[in-house]
């Protein structure tokens, strides 16, 4: 019994991490139709930023890391994506793919290919006893912070003028502009929030794994894609749902797959995506046409 509960907690923690990643990507997709392959590099930069600012107190380093990533996201928008704004989804995907490898190459050049270790949030390494379960403090932090961020995002989108503008832009960008919504502001905000989520995901990721490599962004971004596909393209909350479902699947498969098949778990997941896309090209919960935030 406690093993199942333990797995559930793991799934919740992992799902929270996945949700942060997925939402960052989904936000941009819902407003711009852009699937940002380079989102993984935002996470990677966030991780390395923690290393660069390691000498500072953690709170400061974290804030700076978030600032750096947001800055990178805005730079991405201004330099790379603005010119291709009207292009097809595939072109955008290809552009973000090129951007991703470009940034990786840059970091590779300056930081080297060897993995570096980073000690982040080491104080949360211990566990606490809750209801007979041993739960890591880090897990609790991840779950808690993510919940707060999700609520914050919901509040922002529903209760603030800019949030409503973004929801309108997500549904019909041109009409929103015709009403006076500033395109550049909405896009910059989307990249900013996306960057912030990426940075926080990076903090938790580095806290969990303790290592940094220039290619560390690839796995998270793939997870993000899968979560979004699973939940449904174009629906922000579906992306979060997909993330938690994916985490649950992952944890359960890890726990219960026979040993011979276990290494193929990832392949099974990705093939599963292809199958899902075939039967439901818009994801499990997605719907063609109108895009929802």
């Amino acid at each position: 019994m406690s093993a199942v509960a333990q797995n559930l907690v793991n799934a919740l923690s992992l799902g929270s991490l996945y949700a942060l990643i997925a939402l960052g990507i989904a936000l941009l997709f819902s407003i711009m139709g852009l699937i940002n392959f380079a989102h993984g590099e935002l996470i990677m930069i966030g991780g390395y930023a923690l290393l660069w600012f390691a000498a500072l107190p953690f709170a400061l380093a974290a804030v700076l890391a978030v600032a750096v990533v947001i800055g990178c996201g805005l730079a991405m928008e201004r330099l790379a994506f603005r010119s291709v704004r009207g292009a097809s989804g595939e072109t955008l995907l290809m552009t973000s793919f090129a951007l991703s490898l470009f940034i990786q190459g840059g970091v590779l050049l300056f930081e080297g290919a060897n993995p570096k270790s980073a000690d982040v949030l080491g104080s949360l390494g211990a566990s606490v006893e809750v209801a007979g379960l041993s739960i890591g403090k880090l897990d609790i932090t991840i779950i808690g912070v993510t919940a707060v961020l999700l609520l914050g995002l919901a509040w922002f989108l529903r209760r603030t003028s800019l949030g409503v503008q973004m929801r309108a832009a997500a549904e019909d960008f041109r009409m929103a502009r015709a009403l006076g919504v500033r395109a550049n502001l909405v896009v910059a905000t989307a990249f900013g929030v996306s960057g912030a989520f990426a940075a926080i995901a990076a903090i938790f990721l580095v806290a969990s794994t303790g290592t940094l490599t220039p290619s560390m962004g690839l796995s998270p971004v793939l997870v993000g894609f899968v979560a979004i596909m699973l939940g449904g393209l174009g629906r922000l909350w579906a992306a979060a749902l997909g993330a938690y479902v994916l985490a649950l699947l992952s944890v359960m498969l890890q726990a219960y797959l026979p040993d011979g098949v276990a290494p193929y778990r990832d392949a099974l997941v990705y093939l599963g995506i292809v199958v899902i896309l075939v039967f439901r090209p818009h994801g499990i919960a997605g719907r063609p046409g109108a895009v929802r935030v």
Partner: protein
């Protein structure tokens, strides 16, 4: 001569010119040092892969990450079929008997690898050809990742992440050139065929394409299958060029490289695929030398790992942003197809203001009035 025969000859001109170009470059390389010849051989191999990719991507306009899957299948299949029996026994003891015994010459192995890739393509196309645009891109990406995972873990057959060594690395320029010429010929033949013609037409106007429905899916399948065959052959050649094969060799770096060659050269034309291959091969080799450090001409450079990827990715990025049509902008060498097949006329402003994000629903769309797609459809050009 009937006019149709004349025009077929004329329209084959690009293939002829490309072939001559390839022969010229190869001839030049043969005069050079050992390393130059090796670079040229790699270029020819990449040419086969790029042309193979072009057959599908260039004609259908569907940008896919999946062509490297076919390269991977071809590479591993050829490796397994051409490694000496004794080496196989030592390296891959778990191989089934018939595969263990099998030892073929390169041409036979390449052709069989091509057919194997075709098989994979058939399965893939059955699954995914209903998908459009973004979903197709992501599906192809998912396939690429899945195959990579399988290769990494199927130790019995692929030797997992350690890869296969001992592949006869005896590839010469002379041995590779015929395959590239063959690939160019196949690409040209498909381009001139009815299926290719229809596919290119659908590329320009996806609304019409949607209306044609099944027809287009069938043409796409045909293109994909042919593309897979050529890519599979290219993969086999690649394995023989490398001599040792690891999963990483047929994964994202190669994807970047081939897409780069296609897009920089010009994704819409066969000439673009060939020119792009030559251009990027030279660039990549230059960058590789810079990356490794040492003497480049009179200059002594320290090693700069990562700079090759950096500059190559930057090249792709700049091309997509500034000149999406690539070097050739959709035109063929020696023959410019009529405007609507070769690519958009430069300078014409179509559709809504270009700084719109790719929109799905559009309130203010005059679609009803004119029946033409307003959102900027399609493909880098």
């Amino acid at each position: 001569m009937t006019s149709s025969r004349t025009s077929v000859l004329a329209r084959s001109a690009p293939a002829v010119i490309c072939t001559l170009l390839v022969l010229a470059v190869s001839g030049l390389a043969l005069l050079g040092a050992e390393t130059t010849q090796r670079t040229a051989t790699q270029m020819l191999v990449m040419g086969v892969i790029t042309v193979g990719t072009y057959i599908f991507v260039g004609n259908s306009g569907v940008l896919s990450f999946g062509h490297v899957v076919f390269v991977a299948v071809g590479a591993y299949a050829t490796a397994l079929m051409t490694i000496p029996h004794s080496l196989k026994q030592a390296l891959l003891p778990a191989l089934p008997g018939w595969l263990m015994e099998l030892e073929l010459g390169l041409p036979e192995a390449l052709l069989i690898s091509g057919l194997l890739s075709v098989l994979v393509a058939v399965v893939f196309s059955l699954l995914t050809l209903r998908l459009e645009g973004m979903a197709a891109g992501i599906a192809s990406l998912a396939l690429l990742i899945s195959v990579n995972v399988v290769i990494n873990n199927w130790d019995a057959v692929t030797h997992g992440s350690q890869g296969i060594v001992g592949i006869p690395a005896d590839l010469t320029i002379g041995a590779t050139v015929p395959w590239l010429i063959g690939a160019i010929a196949v690409a040209m033949a498909y381009q001139l065929s009815r299926s290719g013609f229809r596919l290119r037409a659908s590329r320009e106007d996806s609304v019409a394409a949607a209306a044609l429905g099944i027809r287009i899916r069938r043409d796409r399948s045909i293109a994909l299958v042919i593309s897979a065959f050529v890519c599979g052959v290219g993969g086999g050649l690649y394995a023989h060029f490398l001599g040792a094969l690891t999963p990483g060799d047929v994964y994202l770096q190669l994807t970047l490289l081939t897409l780069l060659m296609l897009i920089v050269g010009g994704i819409r034309s066969l000439s673009g695929a060939v020119i792009g291959t030559i251009f990027i091969s030279v660039l990549a080799e230059l960058l590789r030398r810079i990356e490794a450090g040492g003497a480049v001409g009179p200059i002594e450079l320290p090693p700069h790992p990562g700079i090759q990827q950096l500059i190559l990715a930057l090249t792709l990025l700049l091309t997509l942003l500034l000149r999406p049509g690539g070097i050739t902008s959709g035109r063929e060498l020696g023959f410019s197809p009529p405007g609507w097949i070769g690519g958009r006329r430069k300078g014409s402003h179509t559709g809504p203001t270009a700084d719109e994000p790719a929109t799905r629903s559009s309130a203010a769309s005059p679609r009803a009035e004119h029946g033409v797609p307003t959102a900027k459809q399609g493909h880098p050009s």
